[in-house]
Structures are given as structure tokens and as C-alpha cells.
Symmetry: C2
Subunit: 493 residues, 2 copies
């Protein structure tokens, strides 16, 4: 008994946590209970029962099946059920008309054949992408009702009352559902979609920087093992943000589909641009690929030494912080149905990018040399390695730049090549250079380690590029949805 | 009339194309038609009708609702429907027992209260993730049946026959569905899942290289505008591959869920590891993020000049080709339920990586200098910029390497610093260096252009790292699913 009590208590806690996570769930369950009780009254109360009779059951069924969490889903299902029933009823009556004068055997044949043909056609239709998307449930109900009426018609000689009763009870059921769903504490999928979009911006912002996310993590000293469990947490919190965006495709599409059935926004503008949200979602996913790749850089086993990374800590963090600021700004303005500032992609971001650029430029150890310097050194190089360079295609000139730089680095051991005085020494010198060059080739294996950082920086830049796409799409959406004009940065106070 | 004919013809073509895309759809539609006709016979044929009566309708309904495209989905729905009905029937009979001796008003109260409470509880239960995943439909049917019987019990004083009839007709309907679904040309979701996983490998392979995908595209001369439309096609074909992988989460999970209901593989091993497919899918998605990022590099507006890129064309293409080979090898072995070669991650790939590594190393213009060279140059540098370098933290030593390299590059204009003879010239020399350094800083803006290529190369390397994760997961799956042992590369012939 004690064990059962404990299991019940744990289930109770589980149920409570689910309700606390989203209290609308409990509300929806209460609404469903109320709707079912209401529809049961049709059967229990004498006057209703006299009017409708046993077919009140269909109303009960309708309520059970049609009442959904979101208003849009309820409307979609309700209309589908209504439409399917009407169409099926008409078609069944038509066939009944044809079969009315036939004998028993011929009737059986007609019923059987029509059930087969309509069953085949309706099932096949459900594979059409356009039908599957919006009318799948309607086709199902069409098939159900059609079979119900056609098969019944074989034994009952007038199916008109049956059809009428089915229609009216389904109408009653749908009415109750729509009332409960639209007028009593409605849950709009449009609102859910809007909020989830806002949430995506916030999630991406936390993923990118937040407090201790990607970029900070990237530059953190990995040696401190004391916060190893903390690191797992950080990793999880980073992933939550962009994973939610990456996995949002199907839920976005469903919500947008249901939202398009909802009447709520039709008063404000012709038709609310729910599809723009889906489009924004896909642009955000495109953006999130970069975030995922950035996180991949942080997680990667091949790492640039911390000493190199830490050189670029400030500019990188600054770029990331600016990107995060833009995302947060977008989240806030979307949240309040307000247009974002026209200058949301601020100069700060460009400055930060410039800083990163110059930080990288100031470290020629990573990306050394310039065409200019190359040209300047060409003369000396010509004198060192003459002949080889005469076929100066661009590719070989690059190759030569290398030789150039290393040669230059080693030139302190040789006499400066000021003018044309090299020929006799040349052979010895090139012999001297060979071993050193190959030595460099071996030891510079370490320099492959600069690659991950280069990728990291490049991804940061790519992120900014994609951020512009996101902003463009947000502006499209804001225009299409008639958001309030931007009035100033007061919300930031 | 002509117009209607044309519309009908276009619909016909559309329907035909849907069927040709996957002929199993037409087969399924035929099966559904047959099942519906069979179940209608229950009502039409005299002996059956005598036994079952009008409740045969419930059998028809069951067939319409339960018969699904995949065997697993049909079993899942059928069992849910059966279980829900049995549980609801028992509970309803229990309540009926309590209410049996009560007066009419009290009965009405009990019926109403139980409908409300059960309605609330069942709807709330549907929010539990574990229930929602597997038993959502069962709870719906439970609620439906419970309401049906309880409400009926108010007016009919014995609901036992009603309950029995409902159970038996639903059992008949489910039997027909299961027969049609499992024994007549079944579509196994397990097979679909397996094939879609194989397809993912193939899609990723085409995305990465295929014939003209990412990597080739990356190194192709963009100047030839003649194949601009072709480029759009290439882009689309690249995207199809990895997009399918990225968007596969929900369909994978659904298929794996249905597959877990299918009995087919239970003969071979205890329980087929469908969840491993889901896991493999998520690892593949992780891999596909890199492919998406790689494609992002190709699409990016910031590009390394073609001349630089073309230097690395061969090693990059080779790495990509090896990755593609591995993916294709994995696809083939999975397709034939055969373990992949133990050495699938071949030496070729490692060689290709080494080549890429040395290609990058051989281009110090991009990643110049090495700690070794640095150390070798330290002496000269010390003499050039003495004092500054005495606090030789690692970061400043890097900083110095830069100064070092540029200084060395410029040292041809100065006397070689062979031994200790610098003090008097030092000030002039550093004054001389300043303008040149800033000049380099300005002109080397171009060098930021090397970043995108660095990112590209780094992503290639990262891709190989993640490929190992994929291979590991494939091997896990193969072990768990008891694939045939690897016997040799005969399939490649």
C-alpha cells in the first residue's frame, strides 16, 4: 500500500510539473471536461433528447475528437469535419437516388462498388501534398460519413433523416467546441508562433554569448578543472538555444498552418502574414547553422593554442556581444509588435568587425605578408633565387612569397643584397637554405593549429553576414504585419 | 466543358505523378478500398447482419480510422483503439454498477460528474510526453468510448450488450485492418527508416562532392557566366542532400516509433534497435551542420581570391573525395545489412589530410612562421628591438614574431646584425620601421581574405573528425542489429 502511495505521489508530482510548465494545459483540460459535460446534457436533459434522440452520441464524439489545444486547430478540424460530412452526405444521397429503384442484389453491388471506388479515391487523395496539409482530416470524415450512410442505405430505405441527424449533431458538437475554443480563454496558435519566434531570437542570443556561452567558453582557460561539471551545464545551455531553432521546422509549419485558420487578426489587416514567420524561421535556421558550427569550433578536438586565441579574445567577444545585442533588440521589438530601429545593425557592430579585422591584420604570424610587401621584397628575392622566379605566374609568385619570407628571415646571416652582386655565392646559399626550409616545413606542423581559429573568426564574420539576412526578413515581416512604427529606444530603459 | 476537361486532365497528371513517385501509395489506396468493401459485407450479407446488427457501423468506422500506410502505424492505432475501448468499457461498467440503484436525478449527477472528471483527467494525461508519444490515440478512444457508454447508461438500463457489441465490432475492424496491413503487401516503417538512413548517407555524399557539388563548386572559376543557370541547379542539388538530413528529425522519430510496434524483426533478435537509427540520425545531423557550413563557405559573399583557393584545389578535393568514398561505402554496407569494413576510415583519408596539411604548411603566406623559426630569429630580433622583448610572455613573444618577420623582411635595407653591434643605430631604425609597419597594416587588409579559405579547410578537417563519430555510431548500430559480418569488398566490383 505504501509503495502504491509512493508511486501515486510521484505521478502526482509529474502531473503537477507538467501543469506548472504551461498552466494553459490544465485550463485546456478543464475546458474539455466542461465541453463534454455540456454535450452530455443533450442526451440527459429530456427536451433535448426528444429532439435529437440517440444520435446525440455523434455530438459527444465530435467534441471528443474536434476540441484541440489551439483555437486554430479546433477551427481547422471543425470545418473539415463539417465540410467532409456535407460532401459525403450529398454524394451518398446521389448514389442512393441511383440505386433506389434497383433490386436487392444490384443494390448490394452498387453499394459495394461505390464503397470500393470512393474508398480508393479518398485514400489516394490523402497522399496529395496540398490535401494532406490542410484537408486530411476532412477526407477521413468524408470517407467515414460516406460509408456510414451508403452502407446504412442498403437496409434503411430512407437515409435522409440519418444524414440530417448526423449533420445536425456534428454541427452542435462543432459549435460547442468552437465556443469553448474561441471564446473561453483561447490559445491562439498565432500567438504561440509569435512567441516561439521571439524565443528563438533570445535562444540564439544566449547561445552566442548570453552569459557564459560559445565565445566566452572559447576563450576560457580550459585548465581550471574545478568547474568541469559547470562546463557540461554551459554546453547544454548553449545547445538548447540553437537546437530549438534548428528543430523548429515542423512545429513552425504546423503552428503557421493552424494560425492561418484563426480569425483573430483579420480585423487588423487583410490576412496576417503567418507564412512570413515560417520564412523568418528558415532564415533563422540558416543563421543557426553558423552558431552550430561556431559551437562545433568550441567543442572541436583540434584547437588553436590558448595563447594564440587569447590574442583575439577582445575583438571576438566584442563582435559576438554586438551580434547578441542586435538579436536581443530584435527580440524585444518583435515581442512588443514594434518595428525595430532602422539602424539596428549599428555602427558598433561594424566597428567591432573592423577591430577584429585589424587584430588579425596585426598578427602577421597567422596571416603574414601582403602583396605590397611581396612586391617590395621581390627584388631581393630575385637576387637570391634568380631564374626560378622568371615564370612569375600568380601561383608561383605566391609560392615565391613563402620562399621570400623565409629567405628574408634568414637573410641576417648573409650580406644584404643591395645591388647586383650575387652570382658566385648563389649555389652555396641555396644549399644552405634547403635544410632550413624543410626543417620549417616539419616544425610548422603546429601552424595548422591556427586554422581552427581562422575558422572561428571566419564564422563570426559569416554570422554577421547572415544576421543581415535575418534583419531583412524581420523587416519584411514587420512591414507585412503592420507593426507599430519605431518610436525610439525607450524600451531599453 | 473544354476547360473542365483540361482541369481534370491536369489533376489526372498530378495524381499519376504522385503514384509514380511511390507506387506503394496506389497499392495502399487499393488495400483501403478492399478493406472497406470487406467490412461493408458485414452489414450487407444477411448472416453477418443477423449476428452483429447495426453496430457493424463501428467496424466500418474502425477500418476507416485505423488503416494506415505503415504496418507499424496500423498496429499502434489498432492496439490503442482496442486497449482504450476495453479500459473505458470496464470503467464505465464500474460506474454503472455504482449508479445502478440510484434515482434519476442522482444518476444524472453521477453521469455528469464522471464525464467531467474523466474528461479532464484524460485530456490532461494527453499532455504527458510519454503518453503523448505512444498512447495519444488510445486515450482519445478511451474518452470516446467512456462517454458513449456512460451517457448511454443514463437511458438504457443495461449497457453490457452495448459494451460487448462495441468491443466485438472494433475487434473485427481491427482484425481486417491488421490482415490488410500486415499480410497483404505490407509497408514496414522499419524498412522505410532503414532506407531513409541509407538515403541520407547518399544525399550527404552528393552534397559534399557527388559530381559537381560543394568542393568542386568552391574551386570552379566563377567567371564563366555561361553556366549560370546550371549553377542554380548545382546549388539546389547540394542543398537537397544535407537539407533532407537536417530536416529528418521528426520523421525519423515517427518512423522509429512505429517500427518499434512492428513484429517483423523479433524473430532475428530480441528487439531490433530502432532507437539506434534515431541516434545515428542525430549524429548525421551533427555531421550535416558541417556540410551546411561548408556550403555556406561556397555561397558566402566574402571569398578568398580564386588564385589563392586554386592552390589548395587538389588536396581539398582529395579530402572531400575520400570523405565521399567513406560515406558511399557506409551507404552500400548499410543497404545490404552488412557490416562495413573495419578499415573504412582508410589510410587514404589520412594521407589526403596530411596532404592538405602540408599544402597549407607550404604556403606560409597564409600561415607563416613557426615557433622554431621564431626562436631562430629571436636573436636578431633581440638586437633590433631589445628591451621590449625581455618580458617574454608567450603572448608578447607572438606579438614579437610579427615584428620579427616584418623586420626581417625589411632587414635587407640594413646591415646584418651578426654580433653585438647595435646600440647607436637603434633609435633611427625603429623610427624607420614605424611607417612601414602601418603601411603593411593598411595594405594587408587583403589578407583578411585568406580567412574564408582557412574556414573552409578547417571545416573539411572538422568534417573528418565528425565522420569518425558517424562511423562509430554506424558500427554501434551494426552490432546491435546483428548485421552480417564484413566479408570483403566484392560489392564494389
Amino acid at each position: 500500500v505504501k509503495k502504491i502511495g509512493r508511486i501515486a505521489a510521484s505521478w502526482g508530482r509529474h502531473a503537477w510539473s507538467i501543469g506548472r510548465e504551461d498552466p494553459r494545459r490544465a485550463v485546456h483540460a478543464l475546458k474539455a471536461g466542461t465541453a463534454l459535460t455540456l454535450v452530455s446534457l443533450l442526451y440527459i436533459l429530456e427536451p433535448f433528447f426528444k429532439g435529437i434522440g440517440k444520435n446525440a452520441m455523434w455530438a459527444v464524439m465530435t467534441v471528443v475528437v474536434v476540441l484541440e489545444f489551439n483555437a486554430g486547430a479546433t477551427i481547422c478540424k471543425g470545418l473539415n469535419r463539417g465540410l467532409g460530412t456535407v460532401l459525403a452526405g450529398s454524394l451518398a444521397l446521389l448514389i442512393e437516388l441511383v440505386a433506389a429503384s434497383a433490386g436487392m442484389v444490384f443494390r448490394a453491388f452498387i453499394v459495394g462498388a461505390s464503397v470500393f471506388i470512393i474508398g480508393f479515391a479518398a485514400t489516394y487523395t490523402r497522399f496529395f501534398p496540398s490535401i494532406k496539409k490542410s484537408y486530411d482530416y476532412g477526407v477521413l470524415i468524408f470517407l467515414l460519413t460516406f460509408n456510414l450512410i451508403t452502407v446504412s442505405s442498403y437496409r434503411e430505405h430512407s437515409v435522409l433523416p440519418l444524414t440530417r441527424d448526423r449533420l445536425s449533431t456534428i454541427a452542435i458538437g462543432c459549435t460547442i467546441c468552437l465556443f469553448m475554443s474561441l471564446l473561453v480563454l483561447p490559445n491562439w496558435s498565432g500567438e504561440d508562433l509569435h512567441n516561439s519566434t521571439v524565443g528563438k531570437f533570445e535562444g540564439l542570443a544566449t547561445s552566442i554569448e548570453g552569459c557564459t556561452a560559445c565565445v566566452n567558453e572559447y576563450f576560457r582557460d580550459q585548465d581550471k578543472d574545478s568547474n568541469a561539471p559547470d562546463k557540461q551545464e554551459v554546453k547544454a545551455s548553449i545547445q538548447i538555444g540553437y537546437r530549438a531553432v534548428l528543430d523548429s521546422k515542423s512545429s513552425d509549419e504546423t503552428l503557421a498552418h493552424y494560425a492561418s485558420w484563426e480569425p483573430r487578426h483579420s480585423m487588423h489587416c487583410y490576412s496576417y502574414p503567418w507564412q512570413k514567420y515560417v520564412k523568418l524561421g528558415s532564415v533563422l535556421r540558416y543563421f543557426a547553422y553558423t552558431v552550430a558550427a561556431l559551437h562545433g569550433c568550441v567543442e572541436s578536438e583540434i584547437q588553436t593554442p590558448l595563447s594564440v586565441r587569447s590574442l583575439f579574445r577582445d575583438p571576438c567577444t566584442r563582435v559576438a556581444r554586438e551580434v547578441v545585442k542586435v538579436l536581443q533588440e530584435l527580440a524585444v521589438s518583435m515581442k512588443h509588435h514594434r518595428r525595430c530601429a532602422p539602424d539596428v545593425l549599428s555602427d558598433h557592430l561594424h566597428e567591432a568587425l573592423q577591430d577584429l579585422n585589424s587584430a588579425i591584420r596585426s598578427q602577421p604570424r597567422l596571416f603574414l605578408g601582403s602583396k605590397h610587401a611581396c612586391a617590395a621584397n621581390r627584388r631581393m628575392l630575385m637576387e637570391l633565387n634568380s631564374g626560378k622566379l622568371s615564370s612569375a605566374s600568380r601561383a608561383t609568385s605566391l609560392q615565391s612569397c613563402k620562399t621570400d619570407a623565409t629567405a628574408a628571415a634568414l637573410s641576417e646571416t648573409t650580406k644584404p643584397a643591395g645591388a647586383g652582386d650575387q652570382p658566385p655565392e648563389r649555389n652555396e646559399r641555396s644549399n644552405m637554405l634547403r635544410p632550413t626550409l624543410s626543417k620549417i616545413a616539419v616544425t610548422s606542423l603546429e601552424f595548422f593549429e591556427a586554422l581552427p581559429f581562422a575558422a572561428f573568426a571566419s564564422l563570426l564574420v559569416e554570422m554577421v553576414v547572415r544576421l543581415e539576412l535575418v534583419i531583412e526578413e524581420v523587416k519584411n515581416l514587420e512591414r507585412a504585419a503592420n507593426f507599430r512604427e519605431f518610436t525610439g529606444h525607450d524600451h531599453l530603459a
